[in-house]
Subunit: 199 residues, 2 copies
């Protein structure tokens, strides 16, 4: 399973690195997982709190699972996710990954890129608690569960919930024991609810 | 409060980025906190799972709080924390920060750099559950709490527990409400126990 995490200027650091860590641990434990971060240009990006992430490739077309982080939404400025939506490169790529059969998941306000990709019609979805109203205002069925699993479209709550999302995806793909093993290595106990939606 | 996170080749990504995120959110919320990552050479480093972190400065001498991440200890190879201990640059710097009055904390197997800095004599300490026996074998009073607060020396359990450590430090420095605010932004509920040791 190739897990690809697209990052962009203003990305919330833990939104991206939490899942990167979980899938990295899965790989280290011998599961058939690769994880990498990518950017639209393949160039380094600087996150919302100033972390500079380098060594990125371009978006590519081999993703089996795309994890879209959020960032800088709540401030309302034209940066982070909002800027990434306006630039119009990531959303079509996400839509193309989904059309090719990839699982697409968002962390936190990364959900607005899934919306821009047209993946939330008739699908329950969630995001950071401070952005739920914005999601609802777009006509999305916004719910407050920590992880919302609508099959090949998954969304999750705020920043740290990317850990729960990633462990849930591991559980779906590799089973409860495999996810538990990573949870144990990570020293993290999953929090909150998973809503499984029959879409 | 200047929070400085020294990173090195083979660093466990979340050990470093978890605290970076927590203190970044504290700053975004208006608290008097700066956080940055540094490396011995000031050059980019690549973490254990392949994340490349750039834009680093050198170690500097302005840290009020040093957060030392771990990495690659359990495999037993000469990389990550074990290599950083052998190279002999970080531990003396950590000791000098502590001697100047800084709070020094480790995440996960970063504790072995605190040991190399001579900061664990007579101090209870903790680390990743798979490394507790190695810590005990060095003569350290190794305990299994999630966060161990011995005043100006703090240690914490495995990878994700760096979030709890950082929130605890915020609570100590800025109060319960401030820590709670960041916890809420992060959408993370603290886990495990804090041992306060009267050293």
């Amino acid at each position: 399973m190739n897990v690809v995490i697209p990052v962009f200027s203003g990305v919330e650091e833990l939104d991206a690195v939490g899942p990167f860590e979980v899938f990295g641990l899965a790989r280290a434990a011998g599961m058939d997982v690769n994880v990498r971060m990518v950017s639209c240009s393949g160039e380094a990006v600087t996150g919302f709190h100033g972390l500079q992430i380098g060594g990125l490739g371009g978006l590519g077309d081999d993703a089996d699972c795309v994890i879209v982080p959020g960032g800088a939404w709540v401030g309302g400025r034209e940066e982070g996710v909002r800027l990434a939506v306006r630039e119009g490169v990531l959303a079509p790529w996400i839509a193309a990954c989904h059309a090719r059969g990839a699982v697409v998941a968002s962390v936190c306000t990364g959900v607005f890129l899934l919306h821009a990709a047209g993946l939330l019609d008739g699908v329950p979805a969630t995001t950071h608690h401070l952005a739920l109203e914005d999601l609802r205002a777009l006509g999305v069925n916004a719910v407050a569960d920590r992880v919302v699993d609508a099959g090949r479209v998954l969304t999750t709550g705020g920043i740290a919930s990317g850990l729960d999302l990633s462990l849930w995806i591991l559980e779906r793909e590799f089973g409860k024991d495999a996810a538990g093993l990573v949870e144990n290595m990570l020293e993290y106990q999953r929090q909150g609810s998973v809503l499984k939606s029959a879409v």
